[in-house]
């Protein structure tokens, strides 16, 4: 999540917020792996049932380019269009300056989203 969040820093996760409202595009969220001790920190790019693709490094949601001021460096990734499931979100990190294969992103089940990052 560079440059928004740096590695090995302490972050606070609000685990209540998504009991009150659904995650929104642009939210930075904590995603559970096998348990609560190791979490991915990613940004929500697309919401349930939306279509996502990446063309020359530009993310498109439902065919329209997504404006992402938080991305400071990006490589020309290309990713074929996928449709986000009804109980899924599409998440990415902010650091797009590496090869696409080195970046973990994609659709995640809503049940894995533990909460939103406060800071």
């Amino acid at each position: 999540m560079e440059p928004t969040y740096h590695d090995s820093t302490l972050n606070l996760v609000n685990r209540i917020v998504y009991r009150i409202r659904a995650p929104r595009r642009g939210d930075v969220v904590a995603i559970r792996l096998a348990g609560p001790n190791v979490l991915y920190v990613k940004r929500i790019i697309a919401l349930p049932t939306e279509r996502v693709s990446i063309i020359e490094g530009i993310v498109e949601v439902n065919g329209a380019p997504l404006i992402e001021p938080y991305v400071h460096s990006r490589q020309r990734w290309n990713y074929p269009e996928v449709t986000v499931g009804p109980r899924e979100y599409f998440v990415m990190g902010d650091n797009r300056g590496m090869k696409m294969g080195d970046h973990d992103f994609g659709r995640v089940d809503a049940s894995r989203v533990l909460g939103g990052l406060v800071f």
Partner: protein, 164 residues
């Protein structure tokens, strides 16, 4: 025997059985967890001489059944068999010595007294030889463990695609 004594005796027997069941379950869970901890310890042990490499590979192999299957996900062909795994552990040691493996969030679910389903997160910490910066990769896995000859071993490991 009076009715009160019968009830007391039944309650004591029931409590004993429950305690035995709970203790055997939790001890089996601890044994399965120890298999994964031992594997990580052996994986992180470093050695460079030939005999040490073979001994280390043998120790790593002890955590797995002879017919173990390990599926690391897209781009990596499955690893079939303990012998193959030990060979890889021996050959790749110079490369694996460059990083530290941690297994976190190890969850053990006993299916029956001899079979357990396990999930865990593997963390790989790697320090760049050039910049000195540490990078961390995390990956989620599901595994199966079986008990044979009073010993738990891992029979299957599959990488989980948290993000698809």
């Amino acid at each position: 025997m009076s009715r009160r004594r019968q009830i007391t005796l039944a309650a004591v027997l029931l409590a004993g059985a429950a305690l035995w069941w709970w203790r055997s379950g939790s001890s089996a869970e601890a044994e399965v967890r120890a298999v994964f901890e031992n594997f990580a310890t052996e994986f992180n042990s470093t050695t460079s001489d030939g005999l040490g490499l073979i001994a280390r590979a043998a120790h790593i192999g002890e955590s797995f059944t002879p017919d173990v299957v390990i599926e690391l996900g897209q781009g990596s062909p499955p690893i079939h068999g303990r012998e193959t795994l030990m060979g890889m552990a021996s050959r790749l040691q110079p490369r694996t010595a460059a990083f530290v493996l941690e297994l976190d969030d190890v969850n053990v679910d006993l299916r029956d007294p001899d079979h357990a389903d396990v999930t865990f997160t593997a963390l790989i910490r790697r320090r760049s030889g050039v910049s000195g910066e540490e990078s961390i990769d995390a990956r989620e896995f599901a595994a199966e463990a079986v008990r044979a000859d009073r010993r738990w071993r891992v029979s299957r490991v599959v990488a989980i695609d948290t993000l698809r």
